[in-house]
Amino acid sequence: MAVIHDMMPAFELFQPASLDDALGLLDRHGADAWVMAGGLDSFDWLKDRIRKPAVVVELGAIEGLRGVKASGDGIEIGAMTTLTEVVTNPLVREKFGVLFQGAEAAASPQIRNQGTIGGNLSQDARCWYYRAGWSCYRAGGNVCYADTPTAVNREHAIFGADRCVAVNPSDTAPAMIALDAKMVIRSSKGERIVDAQDYFVGPGTDITRLTTLQPGELLTAIRIPGTWAGAEFYTEKVADRKVWDFPLVNIASAMKVNGSTIERARIVVNAVAAQPMRLEAVEQFVAGKPRNEETANAAGELAVRGAVPLAHNAYKIPLMRNLVKRAIRGGDNGWASTS
């Protein structure tokens, strides 16, 4: 069978108007159904004819899945809220700047207008071997094309490689974990709520998925508690281009500082493993320490302990180390801004 790309195969399209309808459809069609949010990830798979679902359930018409609302001292974000809506929301900007910056760093303005927060968090790996439709481990096969003597793996993992070396590419996932967000997952069987940190899974646990989401389940909302509202945040994304690019490494942190002492912090790095990595050892290390260069340096070194580089991604070790250092240290003092 010859391979042809860039032509979407025919499928039955459902655009349910309510969550219950959507869950009913997923129940009815089981593994034949493909869930589509903004379509930025889905269309890649569909157009390349690598995935050919019989049914696509498009969630855009479900009003209840959209919008940001206050919830206690925190907020609740509907999974179908666009990244642009997240970026422009005053509550997000005021209380959870780390999420605002993470979302704003994603892709390009056009993509953010269409892409959703749920989709950004649940997107699949972008490893170009996997995305080429080859039968790699992540695609259910038994080879990793990205870790061979001749593989080009600049964008791949330095941690947690378990056969597959793909990374989670999300720009908003680190912020969500840093903010200790709760992911609300619904299925026809009911609701389960998991910590953002546990929403993401590594290849050891499930090599074909990046999240805990199972067929029939939908991520409906993200609840961000007030715990870290207004904390000191740091985000940075390093990529080849300043727009329309996935991170080489990105970081999000939330820190409570008393005077010059770090009380506690949550620090999360992405694009270094198949899951966003919460650096709990670093968090424990910096808690109670003075916020200075020495702490920052030690934190950076601690963060990259155990990293295993591939042929082309050793740079991720100093990059991650330095980003952690900067997160502890806060903004750098470079030249006056010229942008």
Binding site: M1, G133, W134, S135, G140, N142, C144, T148, T205
Partner: protein, 284 residues
């Protein structure tokens, strides 16, 4: 229409290759095992499967005065090998098939470490069996047809004068044969597969073999693995059956009793110190 026994994938060149056997075959093996166990249990309740009659044993015992009370059946190295292999095998089976049936965990490192233990123990066993044990005692060949015949006769309830088991009963040896094929098959292919994952020993390189060679290797590994599920079930079943417990004990402690020896074995075919009769050969 039919069952797809093999799962297919495509190479980067768009060529179709097998990625592994269909994991449905795991259930086939499992249920085949269960059905066999059930059938065997029922059969055991009904069949005669006689051991040597008590009177005959008494006669033999009287004749073979030199036989010690305890007869060594498995040396310590042999027993160690068996149990290490058993542990490795169970680890391998659980680490490979639990994730398939839905128990998700990071299994790969455990799997290849257990695989290395298995491979090392097999290597040890081959050397040990070749140079320090009666190599052919476990083998099956045309010379075993009389034993097969008499075993069948006995199972059918008739007593027969045909040969009884030498050191290893025929069933035991047939099982060993199956394990040799599947175990070596699984571990040899598994050793190659270690080139495909991150280990401290090799640089990952899936390109040491051609895509199609790999595809058959995965099929072989999977088929052997699935077969081992059924074989292991059968093995454990026999090990815990009441009438076989004397054998299981011997694998733990190394010896069987004189009486067990005489009940189940043919002293002319498994010679142990003292099995030479005093004043003539046992009746045949």
């Amino acid at each position: 229409m039919g069952i797809d026994f093999l799962t297919r994938g495509i190479t980067p060149w768009g060529q179709s290759v097998f990625t592994h056997i269909s994991w449905d075959l795991l259930w086939v093996s499992f249920f085949a095992g269960v059905v066999f166990l059930a059938a065997h249990s029922v059969y055991m309740l009904l069949s005669a499967h006689s051991k040597r009659a008590s009177a005959d044993v008494d006669a033999l015992e009287a004749k073979l005065k030199g036989l010690p009370e305890k007869i060594q059946r498995h040396s310590l190295p042999a027993r160690l090998f068996h149990w290490i292999m058993a542990a490795a095998m169970l680890t391998l089976l659980f680490t490979s098939f639990l994730p398939i049936v839905g128990v998700k965990f990071a299994w790969v490192e455990w799997h290849w470490m257990a695989g290395l233990v298995l491979a090392a123990s097999i290597l040890y066993h081959i050397i040990h069996a070749t140079f320090f044990m009666d190599f052919w005692s476990i083998w099956v060949g045309p010379k075993d047809i009389p034993e097969l015949k008499s075993e069948i006769m006995r199972e059918l309830g008739g007593d027969t004068s045909g040969p009884k088991a030498a050191k290893y009963p025929l069933g035991n040896r047939l099982y060993h044969m199956a394990i040799v094929v599947t175990g070596i098959g699984a571990s040899a292919t598994g050793l190659f597969m270690m080139k495909k994952v991150q280990t401290p020993f090799f640089t990952r390189d899936p390109y040491i073999l051609a895509d199609t060679t790999w595809s058959w290797m995965y099929v072989a590994h999977g088929a052997a693995g699935v077969a081992l599920v059924g074989l292991t079930m059968a093995h454990i079943y026999f090990a815990i059956r009441p009438e076989k417990l004397w054998l299981t004990k011997s694998m733990l402690f190394g010896f069987i009793t004189r009486r067990q020896y005489l009940e189940h074995h043919d002293p002319t075919r498994w010679r142990v110190p003292g099995s030479e009769p005093v004043g003539g050969r046992p009746s045949e």
